[in-house]
């Protein structure tokens, strides 16, 4: 049985809520709106910074990978190495890429040296083996050559051995 002076719980909850609400100090709503503007502006700046960092990272990766492919000649060779006479010409630098006269002269000297080493038969470039009567096929991995040598070999194959001899 309830005491006579006991109020229903629901009513007391409502009353306590009102009392507590009166006690609590409420900051002005304008402060919240101002904070919202500050936060929005901060988010925009952060987003812009994020995009800039992302673009910069992509560019840096692209440049790094590009330079690693083009310049790093110490990288592991591909599994299918190929002979000097067996590469795809369309993927190699064209002979007229030698930009300066000095480079062209240097390439011609290199070509002359290669011809001297390989002999005059482009189909069977051989060097005499010191230990065997059988000729050894002289295999050159294209990746192992310097850019100048690569261009020189390219020119040599384009022009043909005969014209150089």
């Amino acid at each position: 049985m309830k005491p006579e002076n006991e109020q229903p719980l629901e009513k007391q909850l409502n009353e306590h809520a009102r009392q507590l609400s009166d006690l609590a100090v409420r900051p002005p709503f304008e402060c919240l709106v101002r904070e919202h503007k500050t936060r929005t502006s901060r988010h925009r700046k952060r987003n812009a910074a994020g995009i800039a960092v992302g673009v910069f990272s992509i560019l840096a990766c692209w440049l790094y990978l590009g330079s690693a492919n083009g310049v790093n000649r110490n990288a592991a060779p591909p599994s299918s190495g190929f002979a000097a006479t067996d590469f795809n010409r369309s993927q190699q630098p064209r002979p007229d890429q030698a930009s300066t006269q000095e480079e062209r002269i240097e390439q011609e000297q290199l070509i002359a040296e290669i011809v001297a080493v390989l002999g005059t038969d482009p189909a069977m470039p051989v060097v005499p083996s010191p230990n065997s009567a059988q000729p050894l096929v002289f295999e050159v991995k294209y990746e192992d050559l310097t850019p100048n040598e690569q261009t020189a070999v390219q020119r040599l194959l384009t022009v043909g051995f005969d014209q150089w001899n």
């Binding site: 009353e15 809520a17 507590l20 609590a24």
Partner: protein, 174 residues
């Protein structure tokens, strides 16, 4: 009337609910501020399928739940205590009074209930929401709302501290 002015109309109610849920001004301010900021941010997503009032209270309850969840994690709780617990002499007189009143009120007992029941009780008995509105705010069926309220009231009625409180309140001069 622009959106922030519409939200401002519900600001006192949101603040009251936040105070009842947290029991102190600092956390209540954080809670209501986050609610209003999220409301302003999500202005474009408000489709008007529910009333602005229930939508804002739904945000408030979600923020409250996630704050409790993040505060409840062990080491974070300790860190938070070190960072946020103000010394007694740092509290204003109003804040001390509010905390004391809250601890002595029925809402302290309500805060011991499971969070869904606590939130439902706040919406029902502090904000005077209908069962429909509470169901829309809490995204649950009306039957669940009724069951939560019944269960909460039953627990409160069985709580000896609440009985003492009721007795004290009823004999205290108004």
């Amino acid at each position: 009337m622009d959106f922030s002015s519409e939200i401002e109309q519900h600001y006192p109610g949101l603040h009251r609910a936040a105070v009842l849920l947290t029991g102190n001004s600092a956390e209540a301010e954080d809670l209501v501020q986050e609610t209003v900021l999220r409301g302003l941010d999500a202005q474009k997503r408000f489709r008007g399928s529910s009333s602005l009032r229930t939508w804002l209270y739904a945000i408030l309850m979600n923020v409250h739940r996630s704050q409790l969840r993040s505060h409840g994690r062990g080491w974070k709780r300790v860190l938070l205590w070190f960072h946020s617990a103000p010394r007694a002499d740092e509290l204003s007189a109003e804040e001390i009074e509010l905390r004391r009143e809250w601890h002595e009120s029925l809402w302290n007992a309500v805060a011991q209930l499971p969070i869904e029941q606590q939130q439902t009780m706040v919406l029902r008995f502090a904000e005077d929401m209908s069962y429909d509105e509470i169901a829309s705010t809490m995204a649950c069926p009306i039957g669940t709302v009724k069951s939560r309220i019944n269960s909460a009231l039953r627990k409160l009625n069985q709580d000896p501290n609440v009985r003492d409180l009721q007795h004290l309140c009823s004999v205290a001069p108004t």
